[in-house]
């Protein structure tokens, strides 16, 4: 702001307007964080359920002296859901990253057809996740296209019941996730790849570096922050995995594809023990808050780098 405009009157006007402009967002944030958090904390130390006939504010009558938290520590279904969520993440995120990076490398310079290919490759991430779940539900039916393609390759009829086998169902939901979110990695990594200074690459070429050396010693280090951001976004979103998975398998067969979100959903809507759900949710929130601070630091550092 130029000095002519830095008068106290204008500054005050600015401060007042700034306060009024940010107020609605502040109210919404408070409305969805502070009060619900206290409510959650309160309910989590009780046995309260919407079927108990008590208003939630009277939940203290059902005080259970932190039993929810000790139950949680011993809840095998919770821990195996958490383990499954981590397995899905550990498989999907690196797969999406590597495929996205490979595709981005192919798109780094211009070639005929680039823009149409680019638009098509981005389509999966824009498909409504629930609809994507339904697409893959159809694809993996035992009389569906996946088995049809496999039959053509194997030369005999293949009738694998993908979604009723515990292991195969988990693989199927991971394939759906990779299909939908590799484009996001591709999009972000390509944006980063194009920002790598070409003169350094040329210099390295003149010095005799081969493509692989140029890639590992110039391109990758330059893209470090972007890679961290892309991975952070996918880790966060993948941890929430619900829509596609729930439509495809409902968490089944049995609990074979039950991730954290599916598990909480089932306890919320079927078992209806909301006091316990509140305890699970709070435990997750605490862990994720720690992750949030870390992620925020990465983001802040990245924003200082002109992309």
């Amino acid at each position: 702001m130029s000095t002519a405009l830095a008068t106290p009157a204008l500054r005050d006007e600015g401060a007042r307007l700034g306060f009024r402009l940010t107020l609605p967002a502040q109210i919404l944030v408070l409305f969805i964080s502070a009060f619900p958090l206290l409510m959650q904390l309160y309910i989590s130390v009780t046995d309260w359920s919407p079927l108990s006939g008590l208003g939630w504010w009277n939940a203290w009558e059902m005080w259970n002296s932190f039993a929810n938290y000790t139950d949680l520590a011993a809840d095998g279904r919770f821990w195996s859901a958490l383990k499954r969520t981590v397995i899905v993440m550990v498989v999907c995120v690196p797969a999406e990253f590597l495929l996205g990076l490979a595709l981005a490398t192919l798109f780094a310079d211009d070639f005929p057809g680039k823009r149409i290919f680019y638009s098509i490759l981005l389509m999966p991430m824009m498909v409504v996740p629930a609809v994507a779940g339904y697409m893959f539900f159809m694809l993996f039916q035992s009389g569906g296209p996946v088995n049809d393609i496999l039959s053509a390759i194997m030369g005999g009829p293949v009738t694998i019941a993908w979604l009723s086998d515990p292991t195969l169902a988990l693989i199927a939901v991971m394939i759906a996730d990779i299909w939908q979110w590799t484009p996001l990695m591709f999009l972000i990594l390509l944006a980063g790849l194009v920002g790598v200074p070409q003169d350094q690459i040329k210099a390295a070429t003149l010095l005799g570096a081969n493509p692989w050396q140029r890639f590992t010693s110039i391109v990758l280090p330059k893209m470090k922050t972007i890679i961290i951001i892309a991975l952070a976004i996918r880790v966060i979103e993948n941890f929430k995995i619900f829509d596609t998975l729930y439509i495809m398998t409902g968490g089944g067969p049995g609990v074979a594809t039950e991730t954290i979100s599916v598990y909480i959903y089932k306890v919320t809507t079927q078992d209806l023990i909301w006091g316990y759900v509140a305890a699970i949710a709070l435990a997750i929130l605490v862990v994720l808050s720690i992750v949030a601070v870390f992620a925020m630091k990465c983001m802040a550092r990245a924003r200082q780098v002109p992309a």
Partner: protein
């Protein structure tokens, strides 16, 4: 090849024209096209399968006892007619309510959710970008995005039923507005940060009040970025499944919730009808997403990357 690059596509050609002159070998080009075409095939098969399914008559839905039909032999609009309640001869079941209301519900909740997120987000972004108000918002909003919706839904469900917002499009619109507020805020903040301030300052010197500068000069100038951000937020709202699953039960279920409930004991899965509905749900965001391609990276990385 220079100058033919996509205007929105990250491209090396404008800034580094040398790179496109680097000689690429013919084997590399063959490999590139083969790899990209394979990726395109994997991308398109699930989408095309659903499109094909949407136009298939009931006899071609599954492969039981017959060859799997990849493309409808007798294309029909019966699936679309069915979900809108017109009697289709070969489907003997009748729906207890048609897809019309769910489509309306999805539209109303996503549109008004976008209005809430964009109004609060744009105002707050301007307040922070110009006057430094609301310093807590960036972190608070990223944290909001980090938490799995499932982990905060218990208080929301209690509050919504207290406010009588359950099973209503306005209740959904409010929670959508809050959930997508981080994206609206961050996108608009980076747009305001990038915007040259000379015009605003000139208007201030002319004696305009700051509020007038914001509403009469800044906002009209930002029409295009505002539209892109609004489309981005709309896609996110339109894509929700989990929140609608928890907060709506009958009257105002959205398309994905309605779609998941479409199956009957007599026919089992109504593949074609669901595919028709999935197609209706999937088309708007894909078109919008392609329209705002150039801002996707910025939106998805909370402005950390500007492409």
């Amino acid at each position: 090849m220079e100058g033919r690059g996509h205007p929105f596509l990250p491209s090396a050609s404008k800034r580094h024209q040398q790179s496109s002159q680097m000689k690429r070998s013919i084997p590399f080009e063959i490999f590139r096209y083969a790899a990209i075409l394979a990726a395109i095939a994997v991308t398109l098969v699930p989408i095309l399968w659903m499109v094909s399914m949407a136009f298939k008559p009931i006899g071609e839905w599954s492969a039981t006892g017959a060859e799997l039909t990849w493309w409808p032999k007798h294309p029909t609009l019966a699936n679309f007619q069915f979900v809108f309640g017109e009697s289709a001869n070969d489907l003997i079941v009748a729906l207890d309510h048609t897809a019309l209301k769910p489509i309306l519900s999805s539209l109303l909740s996503a549109v008004f959710g976008t209005v809430i997120a964009m109004s609060a987000g744009t105002a707050a972004a301007y307040g922070l970008s110009r006057f430094g108000s609301g310093q807590n918002l960036p972190l608070a909003l990223i944290q909001l995005r980090l938490f799995p919706p499932m982990a905060v839904m218990i208080p929301v469900m209690i509050m919504w039923s207290f406010l009588n917002f359950n099973d209503s499009w306005w209740g959904l619109a409010l929670i959508y507005g809050i959930v997508t507020l981080p994206f609206a805020f961050w996108l608009m903040k980076t747009f305001f940060d990038d915007m040259p301030r000379e015009i605003e300052e000139a208007a201030l010197v002319e004696g305009c009040s700051r509020l007038r500068v914001f509403t009469r000069i800044t906002l009209p100038m930002m029409r295009a970025p505002l539209a892109s951000a609004a489309l981005f937020v709309f896609i996110l709202n339109w894509s929700d499944y989990l929140i609608a699953l928890l907060l709506t039960t009958r009257e105002w279920v959205t398309i994905p919730v309605y779609m998941a409930s479409l199956s009957s004991s007599m026919t089992g899965q109504l593949y074609g009808a669901k595919a028709a509905l999935g197609l209706i749900a999937a088309v708007p965001p894909v078109i919008m997403g392609i329209a705002i391609q150039r801002h996707l990276v910025r939106g998805l990385t909370f402005g950390a990357l500007k492409q």
